[in-house]
């Protein structure tokens, strides 16, 4: 796929400016759809496209929209721009470089679900992104693409940019809703689901940035076009984030279902310095890891799940042969301990416990049973909490320990990281 849909800004300079966006055909779809089509018809088209949520869960977007109760006219659209899964940096590209694609898609989505107020929840660290978005909203309102009586159709949409302030859990849709309501971002117990009881108690749809940005292309070119890209059950263009030990890290727009080996070796130029590949986390730090010989897998929801991991947010983290897997897992454990909201017992206490065990293994002081204990603690955390953050911490733990157990045992026997003490020895020899 040579034409860029989501990353069109890479082909068109200054696309983030409204006039450039419009002269590139922007907002034409919104104009046509608002004037010519019925909301129900849009939902059907999105359903027919097979679009699945790009935030991590892969839930069919059209179906999600269809869950809104018919009887309540008040409803909200929330855009999840809280991109924070380690290894994921795709939405930021769109927010900073192609904000009108998001806004136009929001107009279409809001029209489809008959909603007149939308919030973009953007992570606090994206200060630049928030400024760009706010400017884009102002431009779009001034240009008649947003606000009251859009294109004279009588359809209103007010868009508010809401900044987070540093909390990973706001990426969980009900955590996001609680945060938007001005509270600690404690994910809600479900049911009720947001489509029935969402922000401010009203039916709410929460969609990820990349997901929504597929809506304009779908309505511009048709569901059938969308379905020609990628596999039948999860079609469409996809943003792949590749980081770590590759020659050309970055965000790649490729068809859903691109092979992981091709992604690493063809698109990203392979591992630098002639090093060997050791492991790959395919979908962000919360998903199970692949060893070097497990990467012949297509990167779509179903194929990755069949191979024992998850597509997640498509944050592909590549590790070469020199990587210490204990250190890597310690960093992951630190992250989930730091980001656990603290609400559910198994997550609050389990993430802290996992990190403590990892510190013991890397720095020394671990107990003989600690590798087994890591597995047991992770097992006990899984599936028993309000949201999946506990699972997000447990899944990598279990897969790292299972697939690289000898390295963990080695740390145990050595009383700490053998690689690090070797480095320390080399350093002192130089001194």
């Amino acid at each position: 796929m040579s034409e860029k849909i989501l990353l069109r800004h890479e082909d068109v300079a200054n696309l983030r400016e409204l006039d450039v966006y419009v002269s590139d055909g922007g907002y034409a779809t919104a104009l046509r759809v608002l004037k010519e089509r019925e909301p129900e018809d849009i939902i059907e088209e999105v359903k027919a496209s097979g679009l699945r949520g790009r935030g991590g869960a892969g839930f069919p977007t059209g179906m999600k929209w269809g869950f809104l109760p018919k009887d309540n006219p008040l409803r909200y659209l929330c855009v999840n721009a809280d991109e924070s899964e380690p290894g994921t940096f795709k939405d930021r590209q769109i927010l900073e470089h192609n904000p009108h694609l998001l806004l136009e898609s929001m107009v279409l989505a809001a029209y489809a679900i008959k909603c007149h107020k939308a919030y973009i929840y953007i992570r606090g660290e994206f200060a630049q992104g928030a400024k760009i978005l706010e400017e884009a909203v102002r431009e779009a309102v001034a240009g008649g693409h947003l606000g009251e009586d859009i294109y004279g159709t009588g359809f209103d949409l007010d868009v508010v940019v809401h900044r987070g302030a540093g909390a990973y859990i706001c990426g969980e849709e009900t955590g996001l809703i609680e945060s938007l309501e001005g509270k600690r971002a404690y994910p809600r117990v479900k049911p009720p689901f947001p489509a029935v009881y969402g922000v401010f108690g009203a039916p709410t749809i929460v969609n990820n940035v990349e997901t929504l940005c597929c809506v304009r292309p779908i309505l511009e070119r048709g569901a059938q076009w969308f379905k020609t890209i990628g596999p039948e059950k999860s079609p469409g263009p996809k943003l792949y984030c590749v980081s770590g030990h590759v020659e050309r890290p970055g965000v790649y727009e490729l068809p859903m279902g691109t092979n992981l080996r091709e992604l690493i070796y063809d698109h990203c130029g392979g591992i630098p310095g002639g090093k060997k590949l050791k492991a790959v986390i395919p979908g962000g730090s919360s998903v199970p890891i692949f060893t070097a010989d497990e990467i012949d897998v297509n990167m779509d929801f179903d194929s990755i799940a069949a191979a024992g991991s998850l597509l997640g947010s498509c944050g592909t983290i590549v590790m070469n042969e020199d990587t210490c897997m204990v250190r890597a897992l310690r960093i992951i454990a630190r992250f989930y301990r730091h980001e656990s909201c603290g609400q559910c017992t198994p997550c609050r206490e389990g993430t802290g416990w996992l990190e403590r065990l990892m510190i013991g293994l890397e720095d020394g002081g671990a107990n003989d049973r600690d590798v087994d204990l890591l597995m047991q603690v992770a097992d006990n955390m899984m599936g028993n909490t309000v949201c999946v953050l506990a699972d997000a911490a447990a899944m990598p733990t279990k897969s790292f320990v299972t697939k690289f157990r000898s390295e963990f045992e080695e740390h145990l026997q050595h009383g700490g990281c053998p690689q690090r003490s070797a480095e320390a020895m080399r350093a002192s020899a130089h001194a």
Partner: protein, 159 residues
Amino acid sequence: MAVEFSKESKAHFEEILTRYPKKRAAIMPTLWLAQKDFGYLSHEVLAYVAELIEESPAFVASVASFYTMYYKKPMGRHHVQVCTNLSCALVGSDNIVNCIKEKLGIGLGETTPDGKFSLDEVECLASCGTGPMMQIDDDYWEGLTTEKTLEILEKLAAG
């Protein structure tokens, strides 16, 4: 002296209130506004925001404490935040942290005696393809080397 928003900030606060159907939802943008005006969220500032939002001060403070970007203590003029999550760690964020520590003569969570810099390590900032990276105030600095890092710090120190 009791804290109070400037005239402009008061107008801004009134505008914030119009964005949400419930006053409580204005807490986060109001805390941002307060942090911009007062530098950090002292107990006095939190109590002031609580009064504006009509929530208990404990409620507002407990919300503020949940989010890492709200400062609960005075910070340096520039807040240097280095990502040390996995992707950045794989490409050498430790070196960046060490070089900044050495350059500024402070540890993580500390502020230089001249009040110019505060240093923290932070979790993933969604800049994984261009690591190592750091955020200073509102700006991202990506594709860092130790040389580039020192240059940035020197420029800020001079400015």
